[in-house]
Amino acid sequence: MGNMEQFLSMGGYAGFIWPAFGIVLIVMAFLWIASMRSWRKSEQALASLRQHRRQRGDIEE
């Protein structure tokens, strides 16, 4: 596992490189999840609103 350790140590700069890549991935993942979640939520809200109107027999758009 010497190779792995060497890889993880990043030539002694592990303390800089891993946090840099880590924060990039965390921020990107966070924004991804937040965007997708709010998009799905909006789809659901729209669908339920439409169904509600159909049940009442309103003219659809």
């Binding site: 800089f16 490189i17 890549f21």
Partner: protein
């Protein structure tokens, strides 16, 4: 095909629905390849050692910071001039993505700076102008939030985006000028020697991965904004009927 061809929200939703999964998949694949190349395959720099690997996220993030602002400004111009109904949604949707990349460019630049300059932050021309760009993004998003009427907010934000776009080069120039006047005593230039192809490839792949990420999130966020707009219209109709 006129500019209004894709203005039809239904057509846009259909098209976006088809593109979005592919863009999402492409993002994942490119990101994995890019990370592998950046962290494993690329050689350490003879001068900067392994820290040079930070460049593979820092530089594409900085590119994206600029790219998103350009996109935002162009979309705003389209919204103002042609009143394209999707353009201000595109501008609004791109702002948080651009702001995130700008933030990442700042943070990774700072982390890279510590081993390079021996300090977390120097008022280097590039970091400084990226910092100001970050403020521009924040102002743009705050203005959208502050005005309640969606249409008014869109137009006001578009005016701000264009004013900002005119200012970005001026700010960049003034910061460069300021930096040459106050050159810090010992700064290692980041540019280094001409870039080797073993470094160019991971850089390009990461840049492409970020682009695909942008497209995926842009489409998702635009669809969300469209849905919210429809919901609001339906609620308004309910109130008045």
């Amino acid at each position: 095909m006129s500019i209004h061809y894709f203005a039809n929200p239904a057509r846009f939703t259909r098209l976006a629905g088809r593109i979005q999964p592919w863009a999402g998949g492409l993002t994942a694949v490119l990101l994995l390849i890019g990370l592998y190349m950046a962290l494993v395959e690329a050689p350490a720099d003879y001068q900067q050692g392994d820290t040079v690997r930070i460049m593979f996220v820092h530089v594409p993030a900085a590119w994206m910071a600029m790219f998103c602002y350009t996109f935002l400004a162009v979309a705003s111009a389209v919204a103002l001039i042609w009143r394209h109904p999707l353009a201000d949604l595109a501008a609004k949707a791109s702002a948080p993505i651009g702001a995130s990349f700008t933030f990442l460019a700042l943070v990774t630049g700072s982390i890279w700076g510590k081993p390079m300059w021996g300090t977390w932050w120097v008022w280097d021309a590039r970091l400084t102008s990226v910092l100001i760009l970050f403020f521009l993004y924040l102002g743009y998003m705050a203005l959208w939030e502050a005005i309640e009427d969606g249409q008014k907010a869109g137009k006001a934000a578009a005016v701000l985006a264009l004013v900002g776009a005119v200012n970005v080069p001026i700010i960049k120039f003034s910061v460069d000028w300021w930096n040459t006047l106050h050159q810090p005593a010992s700064v290692l230039r980041m540019d280094g020697p001409a870039i080797h192809s073993s470094m160019l490839w991971p850089l390009l792949i990461m840049a492409l991965a970020f682009k695909a990420y942008f497209v995926t999130l842009l489409l998702a966020r635009m669809r969300m904004e469209l849905n919210l707009r429809r919901i609001r219209a339906m609620r308004l109709a309910e109130r008045t009927s």
